[in-house]
């Protein structure tokens, strides 16, 4: 009776299907629901003797035809004020914590002059190599991070920890494979075209590989809601660099390399451990097979592309600014600290808006499905209107908070500048200040696009976000390229700004349109 191991009767599985869709259209929809729950051909064969998932779906479909389906609507409980506030605060902190590793890193550079992968007194060659390695690591792993977050999170919400772990580690393995292939391709490219010296390429590849490993494990830790763990790891890594460099007198770069290797391996081990722990907590049952990889690819590709484009967008202006020819360029791309510093400072502006975005998305998603069921079919436009208004309200809140955040950071910087706490200053150098000013605006507008992107993701409707990001990247590159070549390299920041405007407008317009058919999108996303 192996087939009764999981479900004693087909009815139980039918009930499971009905929980997802109260009135499936046909057996294909049932097959899709089954696959989304992790049912594969093997399991269908083992549990019910069906040839594949489609045959099992047909069995369920036939059984449904003989029944009258009735299920009462479960009453929606209103959340109390305190839990509601707690929920908001929790979401806000979660959004803010995401930026903590970045803040720690910047703070470390300002105080002890180095972090896990930067140092104030690096030579230009080393700084260029590390900067390229860092940018590459973001761009290569960006897509995988999104795929891990999307697919892994899907299984986590279904309490399928084993599936979540296997899927996440599949993407990590794939990510590392791609990372190595790209690393080899870069080496080959350099062999043919001699863009950089081999010393520079070695440094670049080292940081690229280990940072990639770090980002992939960050994605898993973030999915497991372990942002603090990663922040601590990051802090620990910087501490290790400090100990190695200050106490054991190891040169800064080997010290960073050791610390980076340890942090990346440790974070990967921690992610594994946490998964194992969660799996133990979860109820004992047979492990469902992973869905076919083509299906995984099909559902993950839009998120993957978005992830890649997102990091490309954030770094495109840097690449353009650093490759702009002044009178002489020693190499194709050349690190320009003044520009980087302006962008780094501006990133601080994003902390509050990111927290806010998290709050809004949570509030939007909260009871979305339950609310939909409260409306009759003929009143569905009221439901859509409700969320339409909600969205506009959120955008307004966002504008107020982000402008406040921008001003807050700006004046805080002036205050810090006056206190003369740090060695570096942004107001002395014209380029840094110029980039900082405009990057603040660009990042705030980008975050406005991120809200709508997350709304679209929430409705499993990622295509407009991908298209928006693609246009944003194109505009960023074209505007930045032309301005940086015609006038000054620092004007590449206007590319970032123009791209941000395009991204925010496109995605918000898409949300605007999507909200008009919100009921349909909710239905299709389930």
């Amino acid at each position: 009776m192996a087939e009764n191991k999981v479900f004693l009767h087909l009815d139980e599985l039918t009930e499971q299907v009905l929980k997802s869709s109260r009135a499936p259209e046909n057996h294909y929809e049932i097959a899709a629901i089954l696959e989304s729950k992790g049912w594969g051909d093997d399991q269908a064969r083992e549990s019910f003797g069906a040839g594949d998932v489609f045959e099992l779906a047909e069995q369920i479909w036939r059984s449904l035809q003989t029944k009258v389906i009735t299920a009462p609507l479960s009453p929606v409980e209103r959340m109390g004020l305190l839990p509601y506030i707690m929920n908001i605060v929790r979401s806000f902190l979660r959004g803010i914590i995401f930026a903590f590793p970045m803040v720690i890193s910047i703070f470390a550079v300002l105080t002890i002059r180095y972090s896990l992968w930067s140092y104030m007194y690096f030579s230009l060659e080393i700084a260029t190599s590390i900067a390229i390695g860092t940018i590459l690591s973001f761009m290569v792993t960006g897509g995988f991070m999104q795929a891990i977050a999307r697919r892994g999170y899907l299984y986590l919400t279904q309490n399928e920890y084993t599936l979540a772990r296997r899927m996440s580690f599949y993407f990590i393995k794939l990510g590392l494979f791609v990372c190595i292939i790209i690393g080899l391709a870069i080496s080959f490219f350099n062999l043919v075209f001699s863009v950089f010296t081999w010393n520079m390429i070695f440094i670049c590849l080292f940081y690229y590989v280990f940072l990639s490993l770090c980002w992939l494990s960050v994605a898993v830790l973030y999915m497991l809601r372990q942002e603090i763990t990663f922040t601590l790891l990051m802090g620990g890594g910087i501490g290790l660099v400090y100990v190695l460099h200050e106490w054991f007198k190891v040169s800064i770069m080997p010290a960073q390399m050791i610390a980076l290797s340890i942090v990346s391996i440790l974070s990967m081990s921690l992610a594994t451990m946490m998964f194992v722990r969660e799996e133990r907590k979860a109820e004992e049952r047979t492990m469902p097979a992973l869905p076919r990889l083509s299906i995984v690819f099909f559902t993950s590709i839009p998120y993957f592309i978005y992830g890649f484009l997102y990091f490309f967008f954030l770094n495109a202006d840097r690449i353009i600014a650093w490759s702009a020819n002044s009178l002489y360029m020693p190499y194709l791309i050349w690190f320009r600290g003044e520009y980087e510093l302006g962008l780094d400072w501006a990133l601080l502006t994003l902390i509050i808006p990111l927290g806010l975005v998290e709050v809004m998305i949570n509030a939007f998603a909260l009871r979305l499905y339950e609310n939909l069921m409260l409306f009759k079919a003929e009143d569905i436009h009221l439901f859509n209107k409700l969320y339409h208004n909600l969205y506009i309200r959120y955008l307004f809140y966002y504008c107020v908070f982000s402008v406040t955040s921008g001003l807050l950071v700006y004046f805080a910087m002036i205050k810090i500048e006056n206190l003369q706490l740090f060695e570096l200053s942004i107001f002395v150098n014209k380029t840094t200040f110029f980039v900082f000013k405009w990057a603040v605006v660009a990042y705030v507008i980008t975050a406005a696009g991120l809200i709508s992107t997350l709304f679209l993701f929430c409705l499993s409707h990622p295509e407009p976000a991908v298209r928006g990001m693609l246009w944003a990247c194109t505009v960023n590159m074209v505007v930045g390229f032309i301005l940086s070549r015609w006038f000054d390299y620092s004007l590449a920041v206007f590319g970032l700004l123009a791209g941000a405007v395009v991204f925010a407008c496109y995605t918000n317009l898409s949300v605007w349109r999507a909200l008009k058919k919100l009921d349909y999108l909710i239905y299709s996303s389930t």
């Binding site: 075209f193 099909f298 020819n325 020693p330 200053s425």
Partner: protein, 649 residues
């Protein structure tokens, strides 16, 4: 090092002028491989030059923008311009491929193996087809031998000596670098097509521009030979004629009226010459078929030559006139054909002069030396020479035989074109005898008549490719005639390795490369004579020896330019001191005298500097040259400011 650079250079050439045009331009079924190569090369060079000019004018010329333009064109050609249904099919096919790959239905190794096997089958079939036919085997091996030997004669200098060939090379090098710095007509209006072509090659080969310069010249020369083979073999439909023509230019080049050393030097004119004969061939094809594709290729060739070198365009136009006259005389060219041909050629001519108009609009004058050269009178009457007479005789014999025995109208037009072309080029060559007194025309026409001579001489050899000589004893006879002619010619006129004169010593060139390898670009400055400027431009900094000794005082704490009041802040200053001043072949007396004085002064300067400072070392020394280096190590503050800008409080 030259070998590695050569591989990169060739890879860049293949990528830019073979692979990309192969993807970008449509190929006609009737085209053979060589015809396709010439058509693609002509179109691609035109595209590169136009794109280059436009990007330089709008100040966006660099690798990224150039790649973006090419990628955009490829995207448009392969995807964007397709009908929606075809686009969807392509997307679906890609998705299916990806999903099959994910599900393990397809395997990357398997895909690669299948592609390799397909390619191997094709190659084996092609080689097998030729291998079975003794005539084909003989032709291929003979052609490879001629081309190989010609390449050896021309590339030898590039592999054995580092210094650029002839004084013109420094101008070419500097102009190519000015293009990379987005400076158009830096020294006055002059066609920059060749410099754009070189610059694109440099961007893709990623080697020192000097190597691009050193290899591009011999490659041009080799392409001219390939063009001669292509033209002669296609015009007569006989590979033997092509082979003979390539042999004459490739191995007997020293005996032709041209300036032989130019065949290993890098000049615009030789690059323009590459397109002269293929351009004429496309016109012949257009007259034969009326196909607009050939018309476009003809116009493209004329535009390329016009954008590269005016003289090349003039000789191509003369050739086209010969072909058109033949077509009209033998009534092979219709009036409709002519009415299409003329506007197309007119448009090409207009395109050629557009850059000059842009230059004038920018307020630039014409390049003074070229203008002066173009207007100089006093050209001596050139000798007719054995080879010129032989070429005229050959072309005449071929025409007479064809007119008597051959009924094929196309071949008759070809034969008449061959004679008129040779006559036309010979007439221009002999222009001073007819009262056209122009030094530039007289000097350059010697180079262009050298294109027509191999053609004229080779035409009668076309009869060795007739059916009579295809197999058995006939083939043996034809091979014997060809071989004995070639051997006899080689005994009479032994081939000579092309060795152009140099403006710099090899030792100084080696030191330049050493500095380039050991130190980061932009961190060093070289003090040397004028030639150093073009070499160093775009890599480091350069100061003329004369300026250095007069403007920089050796007894101050830091080396300060008294002209500007600023000190030379470069981390590494290399001073090239010619202990025995290098005297190039064609240097003016007064320049040599100045250099002698300057080098003596420089020696004193170094001695004085060493008395006051301890940071001057000998970087290299031999009997003729000493290179001194002064290291000015940067402080931590300077390094910090270099990295983060001036923002430290």
């Amino acid at each position: 090092m030259p070998y590695v650079c050569f591989v990169r250079f060739i890879l860049a050439f293949l990528l830019m002028y073979v692979l990309i045009p192969h993807l970008l331009f449509k190929r006609q079924v009737v085209e053979d491989m060589l015809e396709c190569f010439w058509a693609n090369l002509t179109r691609m060079v035109l595209l590169v030059i136009i794109t280059g000019y436009l990007l330089v004018i709008i100040k966006l010329y660099e690798l990224i923008s150039f790649v973006a333009v090419i990628a955009g064109m490829l995207f448009w050609h392969k995807f964007a311009r397709l009908p929606q249904r075809q686009k969807n099919d392509l997307i679906d096919a890609f998705n299916s491929f990806l999903y099959d790959l994910a599900d393990g239905i397809l395997h990357p190794v398997g895909i690669m193996r299948a592609a390799l096997a397909k390619w191997r089958t094709k190659a084996v079939a092609l080689a097998g087809r030729c291998w079975k036919d003794a005539g084909c085997r003989l032709k291929v091996f003979s052609l490879l031998a001629v081309m190989g030997a010609s390449a050896y004669l021309r590339f030898h200098d590039s592999f054995t000596r580092l210094a650029p060939s002839m004084s013109d090379a420094y101008v070419t090098l500097a102009w190519m670098k000015y293009i990379e710095r987005q400076e158009l007509f830096h020294d006055g209006i002059y066609p920059h097509g060749f410099h754009i072509y070189l610059s694109v090659l440099h961007k893709f080969a990623a080697i020192d521009p000097l190597f691009v310069l050193n290899f591009a010249g011999p490659l041009n020369s080799l392409m001219i030979i390939a063009g001669i083979y292509f033209f002669a073999s296609r015009l007569t439909g006989a590979p033997t004629a092509g082979l003979m023509a390539a042999f004459v230019y490739g191995l007997l080049g020293k005996c032709l009226p041209n300036d032989y050393i130019r065949q290993a030097a890098t000049n615009s004119q030789e690059f323009g010459m590459v397109f002269v004969l293929p351009g004429i061939w496309f016109a012949v094809l257009y007259i034969r078929t009326g196909n607009r594709r050939h018309l476009f290729n003809t116009a493209a060739a004329l535009a390329v030559t016009g954008l590269v070198h005016t003289m090349a365009a003039l000789f191509l136009a003369a050739g086209l006139a010969a072909v058109i006259a033949s077509g009209l005389l033998l009534r092979n060219l219709s009036l409709t054909g002519l009415t299409r041909l003329c506007p197309a050629l007119g448009a090409a001519a207009l395109l050629s002069i557009l850059p000059a108009l842009v230059g004038l609009a920018m307020g630039k004058p014409f390049h003074s030396s070229s203008t002066q050269f173009a207007l100089t009178k006093g050209a001596p009457a050139p000798e007719m020479g054995l080879f010129v007479i032989a070429a005229l005789a050959g072309a005449l014999v071929y025409l007479v035989v064809v007119l008597i025995w051959v009924k094929d109208k196309n071949l008759r037009v070809a034969a008449l074109s061959g004679l008129l072309l040779t006559l036309c080029h010979a007439a221009i060559y002999q222009a001073p005898r007819f009262g056209v007194d122009n030094i530039a025309l007289a000097a350059r026409s010697a180079d262009f008549i050298s294109l027509a001579i191999p053609l004229g001489i080779s035409l009668p050899f076309a009869f060795l490719s007739t059916r009579l000589f295809e197999k058995g004893p006939g083939l043996f006879f034809a091979a014997s005639v060809l071989a004995s002619t070639m051997i006899a010619s080689l005994i009479l006129w032994p081939p000579v390795i092309v060795k152009p004169y140099k403006m710099q010593s090899e030792a100084s060139m080696r030191q330049y490369f050493r500095i380039n390898q050991e130190y980061r670009p932009t961190e060093w400055l070289i003090v040397s004579q004028e030639e150093g400027y073009a070499l160093v431009l775009g890599r480091g900094w350069h100061l003329m020896t004369g300026d250095f000794i007069t403007r920089c005082l050796p007894d101050k704490e830091k080396i300060i330019d008294i002209g500007t009041g600023e000190f030379l802040e470069h981390e590494h200053i290399f001073i090239f001191h010619e202990k025995n001043v290098f005297a190039p072949e064609h240097i003016k007396e007064e320049i040599l005298a100045r250099r002698l004085v300057e080098e003596k002064e420089l020696e004193k300067w170094i001695q004085t500097y060493c008395l006051y400072h301890t940071d001057c070392e000998v970087y290299y020394e031999d009997d003729d040259l000493a290179v001194y280096v002064i290291h000015q190590i940067k402080s931590n503050k300077e390094k910090f400011e270099e990295l983060w800008g001036e923002n430290k409080k």
